[in-house]
Amino acid sequence: MNEDELILMIGGPQGSGLETTAQILTSSLAYSGYGVISDREYYSNITGRHSYIHMNVSPHRIPLDLTYPVKLLGAMDAETIFTHFNDLDKGGFVIYDRSVRGRKLDSIVSMPPITKSRIREVLEKLGIGRDAGSLIDYLVENRGITGVELDFRSFLKDISNKFGIVSTQATRYTSSILVGALAGLIDIERDAIEYGLRRRFGSREKLIKHNIYLIDKVSRQVSEEYGTPMKLPPSKLNVGELLVASGNDIIAMAKVVAGLRFQSYYPITPAADESFFLETYNNFGDKGSILVIQTEDEIAAINSAIGAALAGARSATATSGPGFSLMVEGFGWAGINEVPVVITYYQRGGPATGLPTRGAQSDLMYSLFASHGEFARIVLTSGDHIEAFYDAIEAFNLAEKYQVPVIHLLDKFLANSIVTMEIPDLSSVKIDRGEIVDGGPGYKRFDLSKTISPRAFIGSSAVMWYTGSEHDEYGHTNEDPVFTARMYEKRMEKLDIMDKEIPLDLRIRYYGEKNPDYLLVGWGFVKNTCLKAIDNLKRKGLKGGYLHLRMFMPFPVKYVEEILEDMDISRVIAVEHDYMVQSALAISLFTGIRIRNSIVKYNGRPIYVHELTEAIEKVLSGEDNRVVLTYGA
C-alpha cells in the first residue's frame, strides 16, 4: 500500500449527519490539494441504521479505489465500533464518545440479529467482553490502537451554553465533534475546515460560526493530547482546481453539456440523485433549459422520454434495475422505431428490490438482451467518474447518429462515491446529432435507401408514422414476408455499421505493459481497483495487464480475440461484482474464448484493493480458479 495515503472511516446511524461530515471533510481535504475518494455504504433506511463513509486520501494522486485496513475510525456510536473494529490497522486511531464504553452489543437494536451473532462469535473467540469498553481496551492493548476518548456531551453543552442553542438542537453538532477530532489528528488547517464548512452551508453564517468554534476546540484538545500522528505530507498533486462530485453529479453535469433537453424519472436509489441535480441545474438562461419530469412510474418515464425524442429533444431517463424492468417494453418500442433515447442505468443488487442501496454488476446480460425481439442497441459502461462524464455525452451522440436506444450502464459504487477530479476538458467534446432533415411531403421515416434513414422530427414539415409493429418505410404496419425481412435487416445491420465506425477507445481499453504475466478482465467500477492491485503486485515482480471492457453491444470482438489469443488463458482472470461472471459469459458468447478464472463479489460491497490483490495471487498460484470476495460491513 502507499504509505503516504490515508484510509479513514466514519460511521454512525443514518440521519446523524454523516453525509454532511463527509462533504465537509472532502472539500477541506480537496482545498488542501489532496485527492480524495469517499464511498458511502448505507441501508435502505432514513433514520437509525448503521451507515459509514470510507475514504482514501492521497497527497500524490487522485484515488479512485478503496482499500482496507483503515488508519482512522471515527465512531458516532457503539455500533460503529462493533461493526468496524476489525477494519482498523495496527497503530490506528479510534475516536469515540465516552458514553459508548458501557454499551453492550446485545443492546444495539439497530444491528440486525444475524450481524450481532456473527460479531458475538468473533468477540467470544478473542475473549472480549460484550461491551464496547472491553472491545476498545482490547484494541488498545493487543492491536496497538489508540483510543481517542472524548466527552461528546460536554462539547455539546459548551456550544449550547455559549451560543444559546437548545440542547436538543445541539445534538445536531455531534458529527462536527468527529470532524474536529479528525482535523486534529490529520492536522487539517483551520482555513481548510472553514472552506469546507462554507461550501456546505453557504451563507448560513451562524451555523458556520458554531461549527468552526466546536471543530476548533475539539481539534485543539485532540492534537494537544495525541499530537498529529496522521499528518499528511503536503500535496504533490499539481492541480489548481478540483471538481468534487459524486457519480450521479458528474453524469448530470455531462448531460447538461451534452444538450439533454428532456429527462424523465421515477425516484429510485441510486439513480434519483442525478435527476435531483438536473432539477436544480435545469435553467441556463439564454443557453437553454432542461425539462425534468417526475412521472407516475418508470413505464411513463421511458415512454415520455421516447415521445420527447420523437419530437426532437435530446432525451433520457435514469433508473436502476427495478425501474428498468418496468421500462423494457418501451425500450423495445424504441428499438423497433429506431428512437435515440438514453437510459442511464445504475445497477444495484437484485433481483426484485434485492440490495436496494448496495452495488452490483449483475445486470450486464439483462442490458444486452432486455426486451423480446431483436434490435440494435448500444450498451456502454464506464469505469470511473472521468470516463462516465465523457461517455454520458457520447451516449447521446451515438444514440442520435445511429438512431438506436443506448443503455449507459453504471452502478451504485460510482453513483454514490464522491471523488475529486480534474475539471473535464470540454475543448474536444463534440455534439453529433446524426442526419437530421426537415422531411417535407412524402417523407419516409424508415426510408430503406439508407440503413440509417434521415431523421425528421414530429413537428417538422413532414407527416410521419411510428408503430411498435413491423412496418413499411412510412411507418405503417406491414407484414409482407419479403419486406418484413428487409426492414428487420435494416435495423440489425446497424450493429455492423456501429462495430465498424465506433472508435475502439470508446469500446475497450488496455492498461499495462505488453506481454503481461497475467491479465485481469473487468468493466465498470472494478477498473481502478484492478489497476491498483496490479500496481501493488508489480512491486512483487508480477507484471499485470488490465483489459477494460467498455462497450458490450456492439462487442469489440476482434480486439478482445487478439488480446486473449495472445495470452495463456490460465493467466486471465475476470473480475466482477456478480456470481455468474457475466462479462466472461459475454466474452465467450461473442468470441468463443472461455475465461475460467474469476474473482467475484456479490454481497453488495465494493471490491477492495487489499482483497483483490490477495485473490489474484491465490489464482495465479493455482490454488483456486474462483475466488469469492466478501470483505466489508
Binding site: 480537496a30 490539494g33 478540483l242 415520455s304 415521445g307 475539471i423 470540454l426 407527416v463 408514422w465
Partner: protein, 320 residues
C-alpha cells in the same frame, strides 16, 4: 380555406369490422380536424393498442401507434417537448382504463393540453371480446363464458377526480355531436377527455346500437345544463364537479352524452412549467439549438466552470 375532411384520410384501408362504431369516431375526427383546419405536420395522433389503437394509421397527420396502455406517456413526452403541437390520444377502454389507468390519472393531475378520445366498447376488441373495465358487473357478452364479476369503472367520475378540465361523453353514431365535442376538447386549454360510447358489433351484443339509441340523451338539451366553470372560485368549481359527478352515475334507462364539465381557468402543466422556466413555451425542449455551428456543445469550459462553480474547489497551495 379550411382543409377538406378527406385530406385527413391517410388512404390506408381501414381494417375494422364492417359496422364497427370506430368508423363513426374516425369520421368525427376527420370532420373536427377539418373544421379546426389542423396542420397535419403540427398535429399528432397517438394510439394505444387495440382495434382503437390503430386509429393513427388511418389519419393523415403525424401518427404514433404506441404500446398497450402507454399512449398517454408517449403523448405527454411529445407535447411537453413541443407544446406547439396539437396532440390527440385515441385508445380503447381496456387500454386507457385497464392497463393504462395510472397514466390516465397522471394526465388529469398534470392538466397537460392533450385530448384523450376513449373508444368505449365495453370489451377488449382486438383480443376477442374479454371484459373491459367499462363492462358492468353481471353482464355476459358473447365471448364471456360467465357473467362479468368485476364492477365497472365510471370513466367520467374518474376523469373528474383525476383533474381533467374538460370531461365529455359522445356516442360514435352521433357523429356531428361527437365532432363538436372533439373540436371543443381540442380547443380547450388543458387535459380533455371524451368517453365515446362505441358499439363493437362483433363482441358486444349488449351495448349495441339499439341499446344506446333507446337511452341516449344530450345534456345540452336539458333545460339549464351548464357544465362550464366561469370563475376561478373554488365553490363554483366544486358545484360544477358535483353536478357532473351526479350525471355520470346515470346509466340505465337514460344515458347522458355531452359536456359534463369544463374549466378553462385552471392552470395547465405547460403554464406551471413556464412559471419555473419563463422561456419554456418560446423555447421548449424540441426547439432549442444544442450545438454550435461547429458541432460543439453550447457549454464551453468557462460556462461549465461558472455554472457548476459550487462543485469546483480552487486548491489552496497549487493555484495555477
Amino acid at each position: 380555406m379550411a382543409r377538406n375532411p378527406s385530406t385527413y384520410r391517410s388512404g390506408l384501408w381501414i381494417d375494422w369490422c364492417p359496422g364497427c362504431g370506430n368508423f363513426g369516431i374516425i369520421t368525427a375526427v376527420y370532420k373536427a380536424f377539418s373544421e379546426l383546419d389542423l396542420d397535419p405536420s403540427k398535429t399528432v395522433v397517438v394510439g394505444g393498442i387495440g382495434c382503437s389503437g390503430k386509429t393513427p394509421h388511418f389519419i393523415n397527420v403525424n401518427g404514433v401507434h404506441s404500446l398497450h396502455g402507454r399512449a398517454i406517456p408517449f403523448a405527454t413526452g411529445i407535447k411537453l417537448a413541443n407544446p406547439e403541437l396539437t396532440v390527440v390520444v385515441n385508445g380503447g377502454d381496456g387500454d386507457i382504463l385497464g392497463i393504462g389507468m395510472g397514466h390516465f390519472i397522471a394526465l388529469g393531475r398534470r392538466n397537460v393540453d392533450i385530448t384523450v378520445i376513449m373508444h368505449d366498447n365495453g370489451v377488449y376488441g382486438l383480443t376477442k371480446g374479454q371484459a373491459a373495465p367499462t363492462l358492468k358487473r353481471g353482464i355476459k357478452t358473447k365471448a364471456l363464458s360467465k357473467p362479468n364479476i368485476q364492477d365497472a369503472i365510471n370513466p367520467i367520475a374518474i376523469a373528474l377526480s383525476a383533474g381533467y378540465t374538460f370531461v365529455a361523453r359522445g356516442y360514435s353514431l352521433n357523429i356531428d355531436h361527437l365532432k363538436e365535442l372533439i373540436k371543443q376538447a381540442i380547443s380547450h386549454k388543458g387535459a380533455s377527455f371524451i368517453d365515446v360510447l362505441q358499439p363493437c358489433v362483433v363482441y358486444n351484443n349488449i351495448y349495441t346500437r339499439e341499446f344506446y339509441s333507446e337511452r341516449i340523451y344530450v345534456l345540452d338539451e336539458v333545460g339549464d345544463w351548464d357544465p362550464e366553470v366561469k370563475s376561478e372560485r373554488v365553490d363554483e368549481m366544486m358545484q360544477k364537479i358535483d353536478q357532473a359527478w351526479r350525471r355520470s352515475l346515470e346509466w340505465g334507462d337514460k344515458i347522458p352524452i355531452g359536456i359534463f364539465y369544463k374549466n378553462p381557468n385552471y392552470s395547465t402543466f405547460e403554464e406551471r412549467l413556464s412559471m419555473e422556466v419563463p422561456t419554456y413555451l418560446e423555447k421548449p425542449p424540441a426547439k432549442q439549438v444544442i450545438t454550435t455551428s461547429e458541432g460543439r456543445p453550447i457549454f464551453t469550459g468557462d460556462v461549465f466552470r461558472e455554472f457548476f462553480s459550487k462543485y469546483i474547489i480552487r486548491t489552496k497551495n497549487n493555484r495555477r
